[in-house]
Amino acid sequence: MAIGVKVMRRPERDVSYVRATLKGMALTFRHLLQPKVTMQYPEEKSAEGWRIAPRWRGTHRMLTDEQGRAKCVACGLCPTICPANCIKLVPGEDEEGNRYPLIYEIDEFRCVFCGYCQEVCPEEAIHVGVHYENAEYARDRFVYDLERLCAQTHAVSTLWDPADPRGE
């Protein structure tokens, strides 16, 4: 025998291999008849005992006001705090002196989904969303512009609340 072969101790004299096999076969046959617990994902998106957490931080969504304009006032806090540097913001100003984003783009590939942008936003405009179906056919489709961010309809994340650390 080669050097260093680890010999497993097995309770050989106390077991019957044939009966153990039959027991195993009974077990697998019981499972054969059991109802399946698989969720058929693309058709079925929620199942008993399965839900996506409200604190989930997924792709972003920009909330809009009653006129359908983005709530963003281009204060520049989110690109400043963003640790991944994935938010591109060019501010603009209309005749009345209201600031608004001329360009607002988020590169979802660079984003680390920390949720700081939502936390820091004074206008509750930018949010991370409770959303996970992000497949695209081209890489550049992952840079979400303002129009696209406003058009998202999925739920927004509640983020982590220090007063309720376990989400209860």
């Binding site: 010999v7 009966r19 617990v37």
Partner: protein
């Protein structure tokens, strides 16, 4: 050519076409069945995307395998590498020729086919392609040729994993060939014939041989698993140690041929278990199926297929229940247990048959079969409940103990939970 010869040839060719096509389709469906059964046993659904309930999955797999790239490793032995899949597939396909798929079909036809002339066939048409008088000897002989495909594939790939797989396959198949042959000798003694039709007839007169020859059945089944390289004995491909064993270097249809051969072998083993130990096409508790006739042929055919289907399911059931044996355990089981068991059993049954037939003179086959069944129940109890205490599979522990390396077994202490 006489019309009789032409009729015989015509029906033989027809049977070949039908059986070969049916086997190929069955093999494709068996891959689906394997995946479904494994999924159900693991509380999953299995393939269910292609076609209704996943029924077209084999078609998708087939198309995929046809359009995949055929790789030919530069370091491989070109001709043997190309030959090996065929060497594996041909014996698997050949053995199917002798399987009796149903009761003989009574035929009385006489017709003319244009320029081919007159065809006649009178009498019972056996539902085996070739109703060979050497019966299961042919099966044992040809299945043992299957090892060439695997070991040639392993050697010609010129890769260490393939080579190890091929070596294991040769050792394993040769070892279990012995058990398989020995386990079939009692069948020969009891039925007095090797032809499959005669064996089925003997079982119809007496009992199915699973009762009178239970231990033979057990040994045959276990060595059948080993012969088809199915889990728990799939050491030649053992993916956790050998990548994919002997077919590591194969791709596309060449790989598929190994797969088809494996499933064809499963069908063969299931059909042999059915024929030799479960009455073949016999329908139990009735003599109606022995009268002969088209309807009887159809019914017995369905009965045979159902039995084969059960054993195919059984093979899959075992596969998804038991883990793979270690290589020394596999060899220990074959050489230290099954061969001894088969040999001792052979002697015991020979004595029993002599006593029952010559000394006691029991002529009625049912009564004699019941006596053998009683004997087998006692033997089975002795083997599975008395001897089977760590003796069927002896691991390397004994060797280690002998070498004084492993400490003696510690006393068993009850653990408080």
């Amino acid at each position: 050519m006489t019309p009789e010869l032409k009729g015989f040839l015509l029906f033989s060719v027809l049977k070949m076409l039908v059986v070969f096509t049916a086997i190929m389709v069955t093999v494709a469906l068996l891959t689906l069945m394997e995946r479904k059964v494994s999924a159900w046993m693991q509380d999953r659904h299995g393939p269910n995307r292609v076609g209704p309930g996943g029924l077209l999955q084999p078609v998708a797999d087939g198309i995929k395998n046809f359009i995949k790239e055929e790789t030919l490793p530069g370091f491989a032995h070109r001709w043997l590498f190309l030959l090996a899949p065929a060497l594996a597939f041909i014996p698997a396909a050949t053995v199917i020729a002798v399987i009796p798929w149903g009761a003989p079909l009574p035929l009385d036809v006489d017709f003319t086919l244009g320029p081919l002339g007159r065809f006649t066939y009178r009498g019972a048409l056996p539902l085996a392609i070739a109703d060979l008088p050497i019966g299961f000897l042919f099966v044992v002989a040809i299945t043992s040729l299957g090892v060439y495909g695997i070991s040639v594939a392993g050697w010609s790939s010129n890769s260490k994993f393939s080579l190890l797989g091929g070596l294991r396959a040769s050792a394993q198949l040769i070892s279990y060939e012995v058990c398989m042959g020995l386990s079939l000798v009692p069948v020969l003694m009891l039925s007095g014939n090797v032809a499959l039709g005669e064996i089925i007839g003997a079982q119809q007169a007496g009992l199915w041989y699973v009762g009178p020859l239970f231990l033979s059945f057990f040994v045959f089944l276990v060595s059948g698993f080993a012969e088809t390289n199915r889990l728990p004995f799939d050491l030649p491909e053992a993916e956790s140690e050998l990548v994919a064993g002997y077919h590591s270097e194969y791709s596309a249809m060449k790989f598929s041929l190994f797969f088809i051969a494996e499933y064809a072998n499963i069908v063969t083993v299931s059909a042999m278990v059915t024929t030799l130990f479960f009455g073949g096409w016999d329908i139990p508790f009735t003599r109606w199926d022995e009268q002969g006739g088209a309807l009887q042929t159809l019914a017995t055919h369905v009965a045979f297929l159902l039995k084969v289907l059960f054993w195919v399911f059984f093979v899959m059931w075992i596969r998804w229940t038991l883990p793979r044996f270690r290589y020394d355990q596999l060899m220990a089981l074959g050489w230290r247990f099954l061969i001894e068991l088969a040999t001792v059993y052979l002697v015991v049954m020979a004595v029993a048959i002599h006593v029952v037939e010559r000394v006691l003179g029991l002529a009625e086959p049912r009564v004699a079969a019941l006596v053998y069944t009683g004997l087998n129940v006692a033997l089975g109890y002795a083997v599975f409940f008395v001897i089977d205490r760590g003796l069927i599979i002896r691991g390397s522990r004994q060797q280690a103990e002998r070498a004084g390396r492993a400490p003696a077994r510690p006393p068993r202490v009850p653990v408080e939970v």
